[in-house]
Amino acid sequence: MIKQSGLSPDTARYRQVIPAGEYWFDVVGQGQRFRIVDVEGNQAADTLLFCAADPAERYSFVDTLRAQRNLYLSVGSTLLSTAGRALALIVADTVGRHDTLGGACAAESNTVRYALEKRTMHSCRDSWLLAVAEHERFGLTKRDLTHNINFFMNVPVTADGSLTFADGLSGPGQYVELAAAMDVLVLISNCPQLNNPCNAYNPTPLEILIWDSDVS
């Protein structure tokens, strides 16, 4: 479902561009609004969410999909934790649907999907691993790097059970906006994948904006 946000970038308390192949890792406070902008279009934002007070409780795609009985994320989706609690709600979305089945790219899965010689290419999981290594205070390791949301990515599933990575539905300036339902730790890899159409073979920047809860 497409719904514009009522918030203006002028009132954001924080703005940060994430170049392709880099990560963003920080706490978003309960009630804050958090927007991810697909600046140039067709870019995948591989996103993990954790309960800041207890990061062993984290985003669970299986619980989220099962609770909403639908494969795709958009306005109205509640992003649930492994304990069945709301981490965040999608409150605005100019794209219409986002993937959470496709996981993140990794050096090893690239060897399977494309060629063994792709093993040295950059990947989302490498960005996440560097992020957790550079933020030891959050206490995360590879154990915690599980299944993510792919904002702006389009992975249609057919009734007979096939799955494809399709050309994105997103475009320049499209965005998705979340409201944090608790203090959440957000880890985003701006996907560096060069081997499939998730980034239109051309990884480009994302922008993060955060508004405090009292801004409307």
Binding site: A56, V62, N70, G84, S109, A159, F165
Partner: protein
């Protein structure tokens, strides 16, 4: 279903066989080269399963990697179950059920109590209502694994399909009495499993469908193997696995 066969079959008689009642859990380490048959003994079974590398439990079954590299939403014959390290824990070499779910996760205590009521151990002894989440915590705990290690599991015998709009539906008629699936393990694998109900099962009473688990020695993978040749991705997955079995940390293992 008519499909090509590789000509090699596992032994008729299992090395080991056992029966798990519905709502129970178990774990075991399976050597590469073992074939595990799961049988839905009465119809409507569900087997929740997670897989880990026993030499390094940080390597584990990855459902998204498994689905995307084989361009599939369901699991059935010809598909391989991949670790997050690009290797194949097991291949589905036979399947008479036809569709197995790996995106709907697990039942948990609240779900089971809400749908089927509380049946405590004190009150009901072996008929108590267990749930998939706690089952994995118990089995995983035996190997040092905890809630941080639980990710998307397989639900053998459970069919959940999606409409074009993404709406999910559970098919209660999907698995029939006697349906089975054969998993050929391509590397040593720690298997956590439970027989608790699928979380979308709408049955009025807590489903207690039993399953048989049978272990056989698997025939060697031949060049014309159906799973190996199901897609170019699987050829590379088998190459990654062979590289690990040949040169990895496994004493006593022989590459296929």
């Amino acid at each position: 279903m008519d499909h090509p066969t590789s000509g090699a079959h596992a032994d008729a008689h299992p090395i080991y066989e056992t029966r798990l009642e519905g709502g129970k859990h178990w774990s075991l380490t399976v050597r590469g080269g073992t074939q595990m048959r799961l049988v839905d003994l009465e119809g409507g079974a569900n087997v929740g399963m997670l897989l880990f590398n026993p030499c390094n439990v940080l390597e584990r079954y990855n459902a998204p990697d498994t689905l995307k590299c084989q361009h599939t939403f369901k699991l059935t014959r010809g598909h391989c179950l991949y670790s997050d390290m690009g290797r194949i824990f097991c291949s589905i070499v036979e399947d008479t059920a036809g569709w197995h779910d790996t995106v709907c996760g697990n039942s948990n205590r609240a779900l089971v109590q809400q749908r089927w009521g509380l049946k405590s151990y004190q009150q009901c002894r072996n008929d108590w209502h267990q749930n998939g989440h706690d089952a994995f915590l118990v089995e995983g705990g035996k190997y040092g694994l905890g809630r941080r290690d639980l990710a998307a599991n397989v639900n053998w015998f459970s069919k959940v399909s999606a409409e074009e709009t993404g709406v999910l539906s559970f098919d209660p008629q999907a698995s029939r009495k006697g349906a089975f699936v054969d998993l050929r393990f391509e590397m040593d694998t720690l298997v956590l499993l439970h027989t608790c109900p699928h979380p979308l099962n709408p049955a009025a009473a807590y489903p207690k469908s039993p399953v048989a688990v049978e272990l056989r020695r698997a025939p060697a993978v031949q060049a014309d193997d159906f799973c190996l040749n199901a897609c170019a991705e699987n050829v590379r997955g088998f190459q990654n696995t062979a590289l690990y079995r040949q040169y990895g940390c496994h004493p006593g293992e022989i590459a296929p």
